[in-house]
């Protein structure tokens, strides 16, 4: 996969992401039209596929992929199209046309994220009450899995010790919010 695209997704380079989005949008709409997917659903699927691309970029999975950005994006898109067709089928009588459509893209199966539990939803509620810098700090530490050293470099902290104390301050604030919810 094109390395600079992976990096752009990982670091959320909005300019490049916008270009990528614009580049393949119409072609993807044409692709999903072959499967009789409604336009609004196609756009949802396209964005969902983009999100999955980004998650795979962040997890490092994309770097191991040999196919091009487009092939992978459309592969994920195809998977989501199949899911959508199943959803259509469950709602009304629908003769599946899956195998009638010839396409150049191999389906790429992605995991659908689990729904958050009640506790996790509550945690999310408090997480959102943190300041932006704390949210960013915890996202980088736990979701992105960056080391303190890497966060210091990326976010411009003086050194990793500052990151460490900042992070523990954020966690403490979050725990306090949970223990003593503001009224």
């Amino acid at each position: 996969m094109e390395n600079h695209f992976v990096e752009a997704l990982k670091h959320n380079d909005e300019q490049i992401i916008k270009e990528l989005y614009d580049n393949y949008r119409n072609s993807f709409l044409g692709f999903s039209k072959k499967y009789n997917i409604a336009k609004a659903d196609s756009l949802d699927i396209y964005q969902e596929a983009f999100l999955a691309m980004r998650k795979h970029a962040i997890s490092g999975k994309l770097l191991e992929v040999n196919s091009s950005f487009k092939t992978y994006l459309f592969g994920i898109g195809k998977h989501l199209i199949y899911k959508k067709l199943k959803e259509y089928a469950s709602k009304r009588s629908y003769e599946q046309v899956l195998h009638k459509v010839e396409s150049d893209y191999e389906e790429i199966v992605i995991e659908s994220p689990d729904k958050l539990t009640k506790e996790q939803e509550l945690l999310r509620h408090y997480f959102k009450q943190l300041g932006n810098s704390c949210q960013q700090m915890l996202t980088l530490s736990f979701y992105r899995g960056l080391t303190n050293e890497e966060i210091a470099t990326l976010e411009g902290y003086e050194n990793e010790a500052v990151v460490r104390s900042q992070k523990s301050r954020c966690l403490k604030t979050l725990k306090n919010l949970i223990k003593n919810p503001p009224k």
């Binding site: 964005q47 983009f50 994220p113 996790q120 997480f127 959102k128 996202t139 736990f142 303190n148 523990s168």
Partner: protein
């Protein structure tokens, strides 16, 4: 005590095999450690969900820059219509421009020059400081503003209707078309040697103010009057207007 480094390495997936072993042992045996790791795992999940939501918003904002599909369907129909309407408008305005505006301007400037003084020979003498004499001097020198004032005063004094003709000519020369028209019309209420000539100038003033039908009427009146003044010009001008 909770080992922060161990936890940091766990989340950045950089535990060595030995550290992994240590991590697993502590996770199983140390309830505080387990509680902390579970909590941070939840933060990981929650922050991922939030991060995804932000990215989705970003994509939706990008998508919003595309034209509304409903509207674009309308536009597909409208576009050729708008283009056609635009083209018609352009053709029409070119036509209008060619047939009227441009011609009017051109016709007026081609045919108009202020009338000669055929009424009162100018006397340049210190003894003849009358308004009338001064009016014609100003008129002859193309000092029309001055001429207008003097003609108006002279007309009040003398009631010589021919002076209206020169006043109107002065107004026309100053591009004060509305007042020129009013004054020519005033002049036409009188009958004097210059009455028929006023039809010619009034016609030009009407052309300039795009009142073509009125202009034609004036020209026809002039041609039917037996007046030889500007007869060939009136003929050719009338042809151009018809």
């Amino acid at each position: 005590m909770i080992n922060e480094t161990l936890i940091e390495k766990y989340f950045s997936k950089s535990l060595t095999p030995n550290e992994t072993l240590e991590f697993n042992t502590r996770y199983e045996n140390d309830s505080n450690f387990k509680q902390e790791v579970d909590f941070l795992e939840n933060i990981k999940l929650v922050s991922e969900t939030e991060d995804d939501a932000q990215f989705k918003k970003q994509l939706a904002a990008q998508e919003a820059e595309y034209p509304d599909p409903e509207k674009s369907v309308t536009f597909k129909w409208l576009k050729p219509l708008i283009a056609a309407a635009g083209l018609i408008l352009i053709i029409l305005s070119i036509n209008l421009f060619m047939n009227s505006n441009l011609d009017e301007e051109k016709l007026f400037s081609t045919y108009f020059e202020p009338s000669e003084n055929v009424t009162s020979p100018i006397v340049r003498s210190a003894d003849n400081e009358t308004n009338l004499n001064n009016a014609f001097i100003a008129y002859g020198e193309a000092d029309y503003k001055q001429a207008i004032l003097l003609f108006q005063t002279a007309y009040k004094d003398s009631k010589n209707s021919e002076l209206l003709f020169y006043e109107a000519n002065s107004l026309l020369a100053l591009e004060d078309y509305q007042n020129a028209i009013t004054t020519f019309e005033d002049h036409l209420k009188h009958s004097d040697r210059l009455t028929n000539r006023s039809h010619w100038y009034l016609a030009l003033a009407y052309i300039k103010t795009t009142q073509i039908e009125k202009a034609k009427k004036e020209l026809k009146t002039l041609l039917n009057s037996g007046e030889t003044f500007k007869k060939p010009e009136a003929n050719s001008l009338l042809k151009k207007l018809e």
